[in-house]
Symmetry: C2
Subunit: 157 residues, 2 copies
DNA sequence: TAAATCGTTTGTAGTTAGCAAACGATTACT
DNA sequence: AGTAATCGTTTGCTAACTACAAACGATTTA
């Protein structure tokens, strides 16, 4: 255990690289999906909703990391385009359950096809295998809070 | 080759996940490095500069994806803290060559240690190997434009 | 009945970033 | 030589995003 010398070596930290790369990706992505009437946050919300169907708005807010008051507007925009549906929860009628509609799923698929150019540009240095590996890691990392956990958080025993 | 059916399957697109994860990372990171007087953009700039020593400001601007007029203020803030140095290029005295100072390198190292908590939180679902793999992929992807290329872009033959 | 929760509305404030125009210094073109 | 272009810089404007707080009706819980 080199308890002292290890302090002189900088660890491998992904934070800056991740944010840096994501910035480029966000710019390119927004240009790619703009014709579909979507911005990055819509894309993220739809993507999260595809994995976490039936989340409550409070749960969605914590997952997305946005204020619940700001989430309202975001969901309104998506609901106007029939991409999502709000239903009252049968268990607790105060809550809204958010569901991805078929149109929403279709548009999300379209959007993902449209992202090809953006990803080719930003991930140019990665080959197909590496991109798949990156996708897997991202999928894993972002799935750290599955729907059940978030729902459990929102409604603690 | 299922040329038709493939159109019905959404490809694996990392864009949304990447931006989503980076959003969380940015929030946690800023909280972590705030005591050092740094924000995410400073962190990114310093990180890029560590790899691309001696870039001109124009090259840095394109690498960072920010306007050159806005880069001036960012570099001013870093220079005030003696983290970087601007020198006139000997080849073209219009240009400023940006260098990471020793203090800058030290502070960057400190900052990266401070990011431990942030990464532990955001990348909780990844083990050590996976985090290292992610770091490698990010390093590879962000290095798509090495200093020479950027410099070449800035001063085409 | 009283208190707490969920989604919602409204308003405020701060940060961020892009963009355009102009300038001095310097270099490149012809 | 003279003209045009480039680099960094300053200034000012603008739009977008987000956090945050306060309050409300509907509903659930104590």
């Amino acid at each position: 255990m080199s308890s002292l010398t290890i302090l002189n070596q900088a660890p491998h930290r992904s934070a800056a690289l991740l944010v840096h790369l994501a910035r480029h990706m966000r710019v390119r992505s927004e240009a790619a999906v703009a014709p579909l009437g979507l911005k990055a946050r819509h894309l993220i919300a739809l993507t999260v909703l595809r994995d976490q169907r039936g989340s409550t708005q409070a749960a969605l807010a914590t997952t997305l990391g946005v204020d619940r008051t700001n989430l309202v507007g975001l969901l309104n925009e998506l609901e106007c385009q029939k991409l999502i549906e709000r239903r009252r929860s049968s268990e607790d009628r105060r809550r809204h359950t958010v569901e991805l509609t078929d149109t929403g799923a279709e548009l999300l698929a379209k959007a993902e096809f449209a992202l090809a150019a953006a990803e080719d540009e930003v991930l140019a240095a990665l080959d197909r295998e590496q991109r798949e590996a990156l996708y897997g890691l991202l999928q894993l990392a972002t799935a750290e809070t599955p729907a059940s956990c978030v729902a459990a958080e929102a409604s603690p025993a």
